[in-house]
Assembly symmetry: C2
DNA sequence: GAGTGGTCTAGACCACTAC
DNA sequence: TAGTGGTCTAGACCACTCC
């Protein structure tokens, strides 16, 4: 009666614990985006479990897009610097169905005090410094997207307009290569709004035109929010696509 | 040299073939939504494979929300008639964060010839008969959603306004219980639009107000499209939520 | 206690990639 | 040919549900 007093704490299978350890290695940047992680056999030896248990852990991390398995080659840390990942988080598509290549123009990149709203979303203290970026993206010469981006200044130190203009490729790839920050997932809140004068100017449309307002919070490893983005899409000739499963 | 002439056809693992067979049973309504399917051991015997192989097949079907595993009880066919599935495909949420209970009012339910656009999406012939339903959904007395729904008349024979009004619960649960049609997944295309006079009337807002236009195609087993829905959301006090993984 | 899904193991063999 | 991930098996044992 006395020796057993089992914790009510819920049962945690071995492979969950292995997932946590692999996650820790990812978070600690022991394995960098794009790099191979040790083989299943090596990991099984390291953690002193069977290959099958490691497999199950890796399977689930791969299902969450944190790892990518490649038969015959190995298992790799997911990265936004891959061709097929360029548009991972972009749900906008032309109505016509053709491919679309957006060109990006950065308007400004400034340091500022975080508003309470932004501080809240980024889990900073009110008044902490953030970097604020404005940009416009165009398709076939027509501006389609106006975006405001907020980043914590500590993590993205030294990011400025020159660095942004020098970079060619997705912003998330830049975050990875310059600031060791890999985006894992994001949440968006979407509304319909009317274009005010400023937006109308940026997007070359009439004031009052309907626009899609997309507020995004993007997270790195460990559910840490590290980017806020408020985008407005001109959806007159493109739409936001979503799959419900 | 002569006896071997391997098909270039790609290799298909056993568990994939089992998935296909289970899928066939679902599609043939051998196991109905909400019902238990045979145990892993029974299926292993039926298909003459090991339990592990059946497990893998079921795992993947469960990941696609076609089956639901319940430890100690069995594996069940997914159904929209479950409490936690009521809002499976509804991404609209109040800005305030509170729960929300929508009340539904059906305006009309008529038979008509399919437009080429609708026929196309439903994979019908132009001119085939469809059922067209209009409805408004309200939150706290305020109309929030106006929806037009198109269904193939053959599959949804006898659906009329009385049947809709008599039903209390999600429309997808009605499809299941009355028409043996379970919705598996859906695709949505979202745009921002301006309310015209008709929409303004339905939603009790000013003409010209921005609205979210959501065009949905919903599919049953076998990727068969069986419902088209064109909804307009008033997003002044609620938003469309999306998770990007 | 019997039955279900869930975990873990060990080992054999297959498919794919690289050298 | 060696090394990686992918498949399949068989069996032991655990966790949960229901009777």
């Amino acid at each position: 009666m006395s020796e057993v007093n089992l914790p009510v704490a819920s049962f945690s299978p071995l492979y969950e614990q292995i997932k946590v350890m692999i996650l820790a290695s990812l978070q600690a940047a022991e394995w960098l985006p794009g790099a191979v992680i040790p083989s299943e056999m090596e990991l099984a030896a390291r953690y002193a479990v069977s290959q099958g248990t490691v497999r199950k852990a890796i399977d689930e991390l791969a299902a969450q897009n944190l790892l990518v398995r490649r038969q015959g080659k190995g298992t790799f840390v997911a990265t936004h610097q891959e061709d097929d990942w360029q548009y991972r988080f972009l749900r906008l598509a032309p109505d016509s169905g053709e491919k679309f290549l957006l060109t990006s123009q950065f308007l400004s990149c400034l340091k500022a005090k975080a508003s309470s709203h932004i501080a809240n979303l980024l889990k900073l203290k009110a008044g902490d410094t953030v970097i604020q970026i404005d940009r416009v993206q165009s398709f076939a010469g027509k501006p389609i997207v106006f975006e405001e981006i907020w980043l914590p200044a500590t993590r993205f130190k030294d990011l400025d307009l020159d660095a942004l203009n020098a970079w060619h490729g997705p912003v998330y790839a830049l975050y990875e290569s310059q600031f060791a920050t890999h985006m894992v997932r994001a949440e968006e809140k979407i509304k319909a709004i009317s274009a005010d004068g400023v937006l109308a100017g940026h997007l070359q449309i009439a004031a009052g035109s309907p626009l899609l307002s997309v507020e995004r919070v993007a997270f790195t490893y460990g559910n840490k929010p590290v980017e806020i983005r408020h985008a407005r899409y001109d959806t007159s000739e493109q739409h936001y696509e979503n799959k419900l499963n």
